[in-house]
Amino acid sequence: MKMVVVMMIMMVMAMVSEANMIEQTCKETPDFNLCVSLLDSDPRGSSADTSGLALILVDKIKGLATKTLKEINTLYKKRPELKQALDECSRRYNTILKADVPEAIEAISKGVPKFGEDGVIDAGVEAAVCEGDFKGKSPLTSLTKSMQKVSNVARAIVRMLL
């Protein structure tokens, strides 16, 4: 019985300290709640070091970009009058997927985080430009705002590696 209690206490302590890693890291970002929800929901989050947490965030950027591109594709049919802005957004989000994300992954994995920072910052820039092209009538606002928020959190975590 004592053994079981000791083991349970150790497990709880381990879980608490892992949760603390995520919390401690997220405290240093501009959006604690978003940061925690992104990392907690990912199975890798509980055992990742700072580098690993940064890579999870990059993965979230990748997922969000993919989701946004899908939405852009459905909008071509629903809102054909927005074609020009949708084209621009498509280019911008493809850049996030094909340039920013691979750059960030390679840079963070190999220990030159500044290029990772460039990549995640740019994800936010591309989202903002896309949003701006609709001149106030954007059908993508919640997605682009999401990207900017995730980009800010990712950047804060990558900066911890510098």
Partner: protein
């Protein structure tokens, strides 16, 4: 090139200036590389290329960052550089290679160093060239191994009788320096070996950038043969709080005069040498240097009073400038500085245009007479590009006036101006809290009259000034009733382009000059780069701009 300042007097208002200047057109070449080493699957760059430079070093396409291993061998200059064969962002990096006989016109060659062995299979990162006593060059560079760890390797020319040194071979002894449990070196913070130098004990030394938590340091290794290296117990220098030290550079300069000094030199018999330690700080993305002395017995760098190797140190360039590196040009007995300037456009723009990154014009670098700072000036070879010259002499500029310069290609020019300022005593006193010149320049755009000024240049300006970049001076009094002045130089990109996704940060620098003497401003304008020199090289600011209207003719 000395400019005469004429002291004829006109009618003076609050402040007036006489300018004497000339503007010239120039153009260089970097022949398009016809044979590709591997096929690439990037989208083909757009045909329209308003931003490619005419006389700055850049590869025909794709991403470039740090200048690597600059050197001269058998009269031919070499520049290697970090290059991505596959796209316009950082990645898949190799050592691309070009040569030149004049530092301005370049011929590309196949990549000199690219992943091929376990010790660099995941990347061939930055490094330096060392010229051996017998004249043969070797390259020390950082490789990324299969475990993504940073290690140091050596490569030498495969064929010394090839004047272009196209092919390089790597030693089977690589990696020569690697992090391990014994030396405790941080495996993801160990990179950018410098040019090696010889000590009096005939041992070579090299430093490698690193960090331990927030302590930035230059790890020293010594070797008798450049192959077997021993880590010194103490670093050459370190600073707590500065973060990772990237691209360190360590070299001697003469106390007086502008000649270069070979990296291993102990100086001539009657010559006093100072040493310069430079680092690129990851945290701030700027290059900083300190002046000091080299304690050869303890293998330590001792900064002069007033210098600290952190972000308070002076910068080579107060604009977009990083990963710089010098080399000793034995042919012309000068030390030359290369620096990387990245883009201020979005990545999408870079992918669209198919390239990213340029090098600044190589600059001769030497210690100022005062001994308190380094001076930089574009190599004189640049002047050979000058074609049409426009000369304006003795123009008086009254408050809020503008003088348009006609007859040049505004996107590709070399401008040099001398301002003679009257009524200095009318300058405002600088606020004691204004210690950051970048903030002074950002807070006060060109329309604010403060101190004496602004006075300077508007470049890459569209017809109706919807777009322009301004490089200018402001003069302040140091204190009330003082006869000491503070000169600020600003490079303002805030109105440089109608495009919104550019980085239009304003840059600023203090210029240590006496405004009672004519103030010199030189600007190299090259399509999407403005490289400015204040006070004949006392302050340098490089900026990137992408006007939509102010392009072409």
């Amino acid at each position: 090139m000395t400019k005469e300042v004429n002291s004829k007097i006109g009618v003076w208002l609050l402040f007036t200036l006489i300018i004497s200047n000339y503007v010239v057109d120039l153009e260089a070449s970097h022949h398009v590389y016809k044979r590709l080493t591997q096929s690439t699957n990037i989208k083909s760059p757009s045909v329209n290329q308003p931003y490619r430079t005419g006389f700055h070093f850049q590869p025909p396409k794709n991403w470039m960052n740090d200048p690597n291993g600059p050197m001269i061998y058998k009269g031919i200059y070499h520049l290697f550089y970090q290059w991505n064969p596959k796209g316009a962002v950082w990645g898949n990096i190799v050592w691309a290679h070009s040569t030149s006989t004049d530092l301005i016109n370049w011929d590309p060659h196949p990549a000199a160093i690219f992943p091929s062995e376990p010790f660099d299979i995941n990347g061939c990162w930055s490094g330096s060239a060392t010229i051996l006593p017998d004249g043969k060059p070797v390259i020390l560079y950082t490789g990324i191994d299969p475990k993504n760890q940073q290690v140091q390797n050596i490569a030498e020319p495969k064929n010394l009788s090839d004047p272009y040194l196209v092919e390089w071979t790597k030693s089977p002894l690589n990696p020569l320096m690697a992090p391990d449990a014994v030396n405790g070196i941080n495996a993801s913070s160990f990179r950018d070996p410098t040019t090696a130098w010889l000590g009096h004990d005939k041992k070579w030394r090299v430093i490698i950038g690193s960090k331990i938590h927030r302590r930035g340091l230059a790890i020293t290794y010594t070797s008798k043969d450049l192959l077997k290296w021993e880590k010194s117990t103490e670093p050459l220098h370190y600073d707590d709080g500065s973060g990772m030290w990237e691209c360190p550079d360590f070299f001697p300069v003469t106390r007086f005069g502008s000649k270069g000094v070979e990296t291993s030199s102990f100086g001539e018999p009657n010559e006093v040498l100072k040493h310069v330690l430079k680092v690129s700080l990851d945290d701030t993305k700027h290059d900083y240097y300190t002046l000091g002395t080299y304690d050869r017995v303890g293998d330590k760098f001792v900064p002069d009073k007033g210098f600290k190797m952190d972000s308070s140190a002076p910068r080579y360039d107060y604009g977009k400038y990083y990963a710089s590196k010098t080399f000793y040009d034995s042919a012309k007995n000068r030390r030359i500085l290369w620096g990387w300037t990245n883009e201020s456009s979005s990545v999408e723009d870079d992918v669209e245009k198919g390239w990213s990154g340029i090098q600044t014009i190589p600059r001769k670098i030497w210690l100022d007479r005062s001994g308190k700072q380094l001076i930089q000036w574009p190599v004189r070879e640049l002047e050979r590009l000058r074609m049409k010259q426009v000369n304006l002499r003795n123009k008086v500029l009254n408050s809020r006036s503008r003088l348009e310069v006609y007859g040049v290609t505004a996107a590709q020019a070399d401008v040099e101006v001398l301002f003679k300022v009257r009524n200095l005593e009318k300058a405002d006193v600088i606020e004691p809290s204004w210690t950051d010149p970048q903030l002074i320049c950002s807070k006060m755009n060109m329309s604010v009259k403060s101190g004496l000024g602004p006075f300077g240049l508007m470049v890459l300006a569209s017809k109706n000034l919807e777009e322009y970049t301004s490089v200018y001076f402001r003069i302040f009094k140091a204190r009330q009733n003082s006869n000491k002045y503070v000169v600020v130089m600003c490079s303002d990109q805030s109105r440089s382009s109608l495009e919104e996704d550019n980085d239009k940060t304003t840059y600023g620098a203090f210029v240590d000059i006496n405004p009672r003497q004519p103030l010199s401003l030189r600007a190299l304008i090259d399509h999407s780069v403005v490289e400015s020199f204040g006070g004949r090289g006392r302050a340098c600011i490089t900026s990137r701009v992408y006007p939509k209207l102010a392009i072409g003719k």
